[in-house]
């Protein structure tokens, strides 16, 4: 423990060299910017910068790539709040309350809160990463197919908390998402499923296409056009563009729980970060005294998931640094970067390249501080976007969307898909189908399917293995409690109400 901090101090010093500092700043700004572009998330950001970065000195290269990663997390929240488009799956939950806040004229407060949450989440994640990186890596591998299956069952059961008013419609949305998740090559036998004869669907549908269509376009469709000169949406008070410190501090509980949930769930390879944001949002809603505020612009609804996804980013790096196992698309590209500069991430990295690792960790601290400064300065400018009239704002946004989505695979096919998901999203919005369960199903369904099938292939179809893992049993018990407790509570209040009535 103590040794870790000593090493970190050296790392911080090494990361303060001008070249590394410059790399951090460049990476952070590019990341912020790419994260804010709808359609492009941290994975795309790191991938775009990778070929350029690796031609520089190794430490500076990885510091820059890391900065792109967490910079994009900050930037993703900006788009999620201002435009209602999650740039990355893990920003989905931020849209729900963040965008509502912006529409209620509290764009500045929402942005400020997301910056604070990103910073606090990032800091807690970093401290945990610094302190426990090597020991905690073991926790990541304790999760095999059986445990992942249980965790996914639990995460999917969150639909009962995240689903909105009409549970039946939430289930339709969930199953639609599960279906979208099955499109592409079957993970176990390689058979193409629901490809409709189109090879471009072999790798499935990219999340950002769904996000942009379902959230972004749908939202714009439903916005009434500006009425020219009599438009009063341009009037706002300057104070509304500024972050609100007091209300940020009020969310300390959600910031804390979000950061911790984010870190520990984020460690798990797979969809750790997305599951983490959803679990932390559900946890915040469940433990809140005013759960009805969630979904209508609750500060806590921004604080919890934003803290979680930034914290998860560092949790996610643990298996990569300590075991050589990339836990997400972004860390996979980052690991490609490490390989290109001649480092093999894995158990030996901390021993043979200790100085390098700690310099990188040091650079993360510096980068997070820099990002807070940059984003707070930018907040008033960004927040004023929320007040630009649609006839001026939407053309630019739709053009950026078209280019960003084209950029995923350098193809127009994805842009056509976006139109379709925009229409679906619009219908769902009008008809009160909640979009979050669809994301839940689409992201987590494939992990559930892989978990179940891998388990059963290994056990030869024997289902009892699910009940032989203590971790899995624990998670299933929590799931049952989650599903049954609201029913029990409502029974009790009904009984109590009946007693009072008597």
């Amino acid at each position: 423990m103590f040794e870790s901090w000593q090493l970190l101090a050296q790392g911080l010093a090494a990361a303060s060299q001008p070249t590394v500092l410059a790399a951090i700043m460049v990476g952070a700004i590019i990341g912020l910017f790419i994260g804010a572009l709808p359609g492009l998330g941290p994975t795309a950001g790191v991938a775009i910068l990778l070929p350029v970065a690796v031609s520089f000195d190794g430490t500076a290269a990885i510091a820059a790539l890391g900065a792109v990663y967490y910079g994009a997390q900050y930037g993703g929240a900006v788009t999620a709040i201002l435009l209602g488009i999650p740039g990355d799956a893990s920003a989905t939950m931020t849209v729900i309350d963040g965008h509502k806040m912006a529409r209620n004229g509290k764009a500045g407060a929402a942005l400020g809160l997301s910056i604070a949450a990103s910073f606090i989440g990032g800091l807690i994640g970093l401290v945990l990463l610094t302190a426990f990186a090597t020991t905690i890596a073991k926790a990541a591998i304790a999760f095999g197919p059986i445990e992942m299956t249980a965790l996914m069952v639990f995460s999917l059961s969150l639909v009962s908390v995240l689903g909105g008013r009409d549970l039946n419609k939430a289930m339709i949305s969930l199953f639609l998402g599960l279906f979208i998740g099955t499109i592409g090559l079957d993970p176990m036998v390689g058979l193409p499923r629901f490809d409709f004869g189109e090879v471009r669907l072999f790798d499935g549908i990219e999340f950002s296409i769904i996000a942009v269509g379902l959230f972004g376009l749908a939202e714009m469709y439903a916005t009434p056009p500006s009425t020219g000169a009599h438009d009063d949406s341009g009037r706002f008070r300057f104070r509304e563009l500024l972050p609100d410190v007091r209300s940020t501090l009020q969310c300390w509980r959600e910031l804390g729980s979000g950061s911790l949930i984010g870190f520990f769930v984020g460690i798990l390879p797979g969809a750790g970060a997305t599951a983490a944001t959803m679990i932390s949002y559900a946890f915040a809603k469940r433990t809140s005294k005013h759960p009805e505020r969630f979904g209508n612009g609750a500060m806590e609804g921004v604080a919890a998931p934003e803290a979680a996804n930034n914290s998860a980013a560092y949790g996610n790096m643990i298996p990569m640094f300590a075991l050589g196992i990339p836990g997400s698309g972004t860390t996979a590209v980052l690991m490609g970067g490490l390989l290109m500069i001649g480092l093999q991430p894995g158990p030996m990295l901390f021993q043979t390249q200790s100085e390098f690792v700690w310099t990188i960790f040091g650079s993360f601290y510096i980068g997070n501080l820099a990002l807070v400064a940059i984003t707070i300065l930018l907040t008033p400018i960004l927040a004023s976007c929320a007040f630009v009239r649609p006839s001026y704002l939407f053309p630019a946004v739709i053009a950026i969307i078209a280019f960003g989505i084209y950029g995923i695979n350098n193809a127009m096919f994805e842009v056509v898909l976006v139109i379709g998901f925009g229409l679906l999203g619009y219908l769902m919005m009008k008809l009160d189908y909640p979009p979050v369960p669809l994301v839940l199903g689409m992201i987590l369904g494939p992990i559930l399917e892989r978990g179940i099938r891998r388990t059963l292939v290994a056990s030869d179809g024997d289902l009892s293995v699910f009940f032989r893992s203590p971790i899995a049993i624990g998670i299933i018990v929590v799931t049952v409690v989650l599903l049954v407790s609201p029913w029990l509570v409502s029974q009790r209040t009904r009984r109590r109400a009946a007693a009072i009535a008597k």
Partner: protein, 328 residues
């Protein structure tokens, strides 16, 4: 004439020591190029996968070596066209029929995606240029496993093996292993090497076929034990680990790091690139920056030899996919 000159040059080069030869050959190569006006435009290396993956690293390292050594008189751009399990990128290269300014790398899906019948192309729709390295696979277990040798696998029951991908080299090898040993190891496909490694380290699986690079890292850290390698001979980096063939098992399968061009390119272009790639394959830069770094086996195969290997590999995959009932 020009072709002959290059061939002779290459033969001579093989006889001489590296440095001197490279100096001697370089002006010759560029002379050849000038005489034929090829290449006169920027070369485009199309990677059918995303940035940071195995195919991408090969492409960029190769481009860097070519650039550093100034092996070609024009620029070389590496471009990623991912999607459709490689189908998008390979279709793109194929669409440049006869155009000798496009290059591509050969990965597993170069073989498997066409076999699935979903890409109206096959390996016959490309021109093989050369292979510049070879990567074997290593069968490994965790360090505290009861499995100490290949023979232990035969006697053990209920073993599981993880593979990166449903139809992939490790999957092919896992099925071969079952066949050769008469064992019934259950093959569990995962999405990538990292996931398999995590599952084995976490003791959710027993065995895996891994890349030398990732296995060596674990072996050096004392967390894993290598049982056998799939190359014909032992690897220099793992002198104590036997090869399957040496143990009397007919399992020899390695991944070739090869370069292709679209169909119908001029023969001069093929010869030209055979020369360039031979220089790359035998250069100390390539050895240091790719082969040794990733613990692969140095190698050079010319267009014809590489073409033969492609046909053999494709047949091996076809057999596996028939066995898995992916194709009928």
């Amino acid at each position: 004439m020009e072709r002959l000159k290059t061939r002779n040059g290459l033969k001579r080069r093989a006889l001489l020591a590296y440095g001197a030869t490279l100096l001697a050959l370089q002006p010759m190569l560029s002379m050849t190029a000038q005489a034929q006006d090829y290449p006169a435009e920027t070369m485009n290396y199309v990677v059918a996968f995303g940035v940071g993956g195995g195919s991408d690293i090969i492409a960029r390292t190769m481009a860097k070596v070519i650039d550093d050594k100034k092996l070609i008189p024009v620029k070389m751009l590496v471009e990623n066209r991912p999607g459709g399990s490689g189908a998008i990128g390979y279709s793109f290269i194929n669409a440049q029929k006869g155009n000798p300014y496009y290059l591509g790398g050969v990965g597993v899906s170069f073989f498997t995606t066409p076999l699935l019948g979903k890409m109206p192309l096959s390996h016959r729709d490309f021109t093989p240029l050369a292979a510049i390295a070879r990567s074997p696979y290593i069968l490994a277990v965790t360090a505290d496993s009861d499995i100490k040798t290949i023979d232990d696998i035969k006697t053990a029951t209920g073993l599981t093996i993880g593979t990166a991908g449903a139809v992939s080299d490790p999957a092919l090898l896992a099925h071969l292993l079952n066949k050769e040993l008469g064992a019934s190891i259950k093959v569990v496909p995962f999405d990538g090497e990292g996931e398999v490694m995590a599952a084995v380290l976490g003791k959710h699986l027993d065995l895996l076929f891994g890349n030398p690079n990732e296995i060596l890292e674990q072996v050096n850290a004392g967390t894993m034990r290598a049982l056998a390698v799939t190359s014909a001979e032992r690897m220099t980096s793992l002198p104590d680990v036997p090869s399957f063939s040496e143990l009397g098992h007919d399992i020899v399968h390695t991944q070739l790091r090869g370069i292709i061009m679209p169909k119908d390119v001029p023969a001069e272009a093929v010869t030209y690139w055979e020369g360039v790639l031979k220089t790359v394959a035998e250069s100390p830069e390539w050895r240091a920056q790719y082969v040794d770094r990733f613990n692969e086996i140095p190698l050079f195969l010319n267009s014809r030899e590489f073409g033969e290997e492609i046909v053999a590999t494709s047949a091996r995959y076809e057999a596996l996919m028939r066995e898995l009932e992916l194709i009928k």
